[in-house]
Structure formats: structure tokens, C-alpha cells
Symmetry: C2
Subunit: 221 residues, 2 copies
DNA sequence: GATTTGCATTTTGTATACATTGTACAATAT
DNA sequence: ATATTGTACAATGTATACAAAATGCAAATC
């Protein structure tokens, strides 16, 4: 485990600070799957007491990022290729649901916002900082999610996306993939604007399938 | 808030016992939406210290059953009709996904198991204890979930179902509804056996729609 | 009378102490 | 040599103590 540093925010309770810190460390792979999360050593590393650590671990547990065995402690959950496929299978379905709802509910302003976030993405295309680009991608999808006006759907999609956080850079590393991505986004926007549910779902499915391929390729290598 | 009693299980840590107890109390409506969850009073009521209470609340928070405001504490989340519709909208989609996967993956034994759990449900039809019947219904759906062989899907569906726990008795109270339910289950089994995805999804959608109607009727009354 | 200020109380946030359980390893018995 | 048991140690589980913030209310001020 690398050195951990608290992402300090005075307005947040320590448990949330610890939670965010640990989650990020796990998703980035800084704490590896299978590694034990020991309360005392984490408390020392982060300079807080065991209490906030424990409460953070409880949350990680419910998110499925760590596995608890009573009296033995927490270990970072292993993620198998099967797990990832499961996540993507559900996500594909819900993304299709999201664009369907977007087709039905999107206003003129919503379409505008979609186009703007798409534009922002394009502007970042040549940005060497891939993190920026990845976040522009996230924001694009966030706009679609918001349009669905379904809190539960948004919550679940955000969680599923989080599960794949550590692979988020993979599918935008490649220049060719990136232009495909832009094209797919454009297609989706167009379909939503035309309120063409069938097409929107088709493009969306395609979009996720491409991600799946890239990630699967990365994992089996 | 009624008296709470711990659901004691010597093999579970107190935090989990408290978590299960509080969750059930919230879902059953024994602790009402808007009500505050105060650590000290809960600790006294349940006869444990604040620590397990706090850890249980952290989990309830992530499940969306309570809302935390830093330095102010936890209150039971209000559930609006809109929230329920959101839940059902997502659930409908994922239930359809589940039966589709079931059509593709079900073995002979799986079909047998489905029929058995369906039979058990029928046997409980005249059981005056509605809880038993409700649980037989749950077990039927569990079989379908298991057949999908998608952990993430199962986890999300279980969570969504939990959100509706407090209404689970509504749609089996009525004798007429009950026979409809049985018929719908039979239809779904048949479609899965025939590997007829279209029909299976159709029946499944219908099944959820009926629940939605019953619950909506209950709520708007 | 309305508003503000200050204090007491309550409640949550965090740290620490104590209890219990699990683990590793060595010593002993078979 | 293997199995078993006992013991020390380490980690988690639980309780409690202390700190800090929020709340309610009363007194003071305008």
C-alpha cells in the first residue's frame, strides 16, 4: 500500500474524509484487491483514531468494495473479469433505460446542455491530461442521467460507474477510440433530439459494448 | 417509535444486529419518516453502546434509508410517491432483464426449482399468515434472480425490493389479486421454459405494473 | 414586543480504554 | 513425526470518556 494522504475538507466529518480517501485508493488500485484493511495501521497512517476508520469501512462494505469477515476484519474485494462483465451487463441495460427516458423527457434546454457538454469533451480531445477528458465524458453522461429525473436510476448508475473507475482511462487512451467515442456521443444526442428511442438505445448499447471490449482486452492481456 | 427489540443472533456482530433491527423497523414503518434517530436514546432502548448504533446508521445512510446532516444527526428518509415510482420504474427494467437472462440460462433443474417454489406459494394461498405468503413470493423471485448468475443484478434487485418492503403485504391482501399473482407467475415460468424472451418480459412487466397499481392506489388513498 | 446575546443542555464527533476472539507458534504428549 | 493443547500476541468488537458543535431558552437590550 502506498502512502495515503487524507483529502482534507474541513466541512466534512472525518469518517467521510476517510471514506472518500479509502474509496479512491481502492478504485485507483493503490490498495490492491486482497489486501487487508487494518484499523490500527490505517488510523496511524491517516493520523486519526480508529472510530472514523471503522465507520468508513462500514460504508465501503455496503458498496461492495471491501469484504468483511466478523472478527477477522476487512479485505479489499477481488474483482474478477466476471464481476466486471456483470457490472457492464447491468449498466448497459440501465444506460438504455436512461436514454429512453431522456428521449421522452428532454426539453430544448436539456438538448442544449447535452450539446454543450459534448462540445467541452471535444475541446479536451487534445488535452494531454486524460483525467480531464475522462471527467468531461462523465459529465456528458451525467446530463443524460439528470434528464431522466429518476433519482434511484441516477444513484445506481453512479455506483456502477464507480465500480469501473479504475479502468476509466483505458478507453480514452487510444486516439482512435476517442474519435469513436465522440461519434457515439453525437449519435446519442441526435437520437435523443429526434426522440428516436430505438436508435438511442442502439447507440447507447453500442457505446457500452465498445467500452466492454476495451476493458476486456486490457484485462485478459 | 414503538419499543424496539434486538433481533438477537450470537453469531452476528452487534452492529449488524442493530442494522437489521433498525432497517426492519424503518421499513415496517415502526420508525416513521422524518423521525430523528438519536444515538443515545437508541443505545439505551437496545441496550448497547453508541458505537454499534453509529456503525449501523452509517450503513442505513448508504442504503438511503436515513439522511445524515453533519453535526445534526440522522433522520428517517421521507419516501414520496415519486420515489416509489422511480424505484418501480428501475425495478421493472431489471426484472425484465432478469427473466431475459433466465430464458437464456435456465437449466432443467432451474425450471424444476421454479415450479417447486411456485407450488409452495400456492400451498400458502389459504394461509392466514400473509407474511408467509409474501415470503414465498420473494423466494420465487429469488430463484429467477439466482438463475441470471449476475451478482450485481441480484444485489440491486434485492435492494430495490427492500425499498418496497413496507408495501409487500398490500398486493397479496386481496384474494383476487392473489390469484392474479399466481397466474402471472405461471405465465412467467412457462415463458422461461419455452425460452420465449419476448413473452417473459411482457409477463414480467405486467407483473410489476400490477404491483405498482396496487401500491399507488394504497398511497393516494 | 421583538431581537439579540449568552449560557446550559443536548447531541454528535472523535479518541481511547477495555473485552473478546482469532492466530501463530512452541511445547508436550502420543 | 504428528497431533494437540496452551499461551502470547494481535486484531476486532464494544463501551466509555472527552471535545466540539448545535439547539433551546431565558435574560438583557433596543
Amino acid at each position: 500500500m502506498k502512502d495515503l494522504k487524507l483529502i482534507i475538507d474541513n466541512y466534512l466529518p472525518l469518517r467521510d474524509v476517510v471514506f472518500i480517501t479509502l474509496r479512491e485508493a481502492i478504485l485507483k488500485g493503490e490498495i490492491e484487491p486482497g489486501e487487508r484493511l487494518m484499523e490500527i495501521s490505517l488510523a496511524e497512517k491517516l493520523g486519526v483514531s480508529r472510530t472514523p476508520i471503522r465507520e468508513a469501512i462500514r460504508k465501503l462494505e455496503l458498496e461492495g468494495l471491501v469484504i468483511m469477515t466478523p472478527r477477522k476484519g476487512a479485505v479489499v474485494a477481488e474483482i474478477t473479469l466476471k464481476d466486471l462483465r456483470d457490472v457492464l451487463e447491468v449498466r448497459k441495460n440501465l444506460e438504455k433505460m436512461a436514454v429512453e427516458l431522456a428521449c421522452q423527457k428532454a426539453t430544448e434546454e436539456d438538448i442544449m446542455e447535452l450539446k454543450q457538454s459534448h462540445q467541452k469533451f471535444i475541446e479536451n480531445m487534445s488535452n494531454p491530461d486524460l483525467t480531464e477528458l475522462a471527467e468531461a465524458d462523465v459529465r456528458f453522461h451525467d446530463v443524460i442521467y439528470r434528464i431522466t429525473d429518476n433519482k434511484r436510476l441516477i444513484q445506481i448508475l453512479n455506483n456502477l460507474r464507480e465500480q469501473m473507475y479504475r479502468y476509466r482511462l483505458e478507453y480514452i487512451k487510444d486516439e482512435k477510440q476517442r474519435s469513436i467515442l465522440v461519434h457515439e456521443h453525437a449519435q446519442i444526442i441526435q437520437a435523443i433530439e429526434n426522440k428516436d428511442i430505438t436508435k438511442a438505445k442502439e447507440f447507447s448499447e453500442n457505446h457500452i459494448n465498445n467500452q466492454e471490449k476495451t476493458i476486456a482486452a486490457k484485462l485478459t492481456s
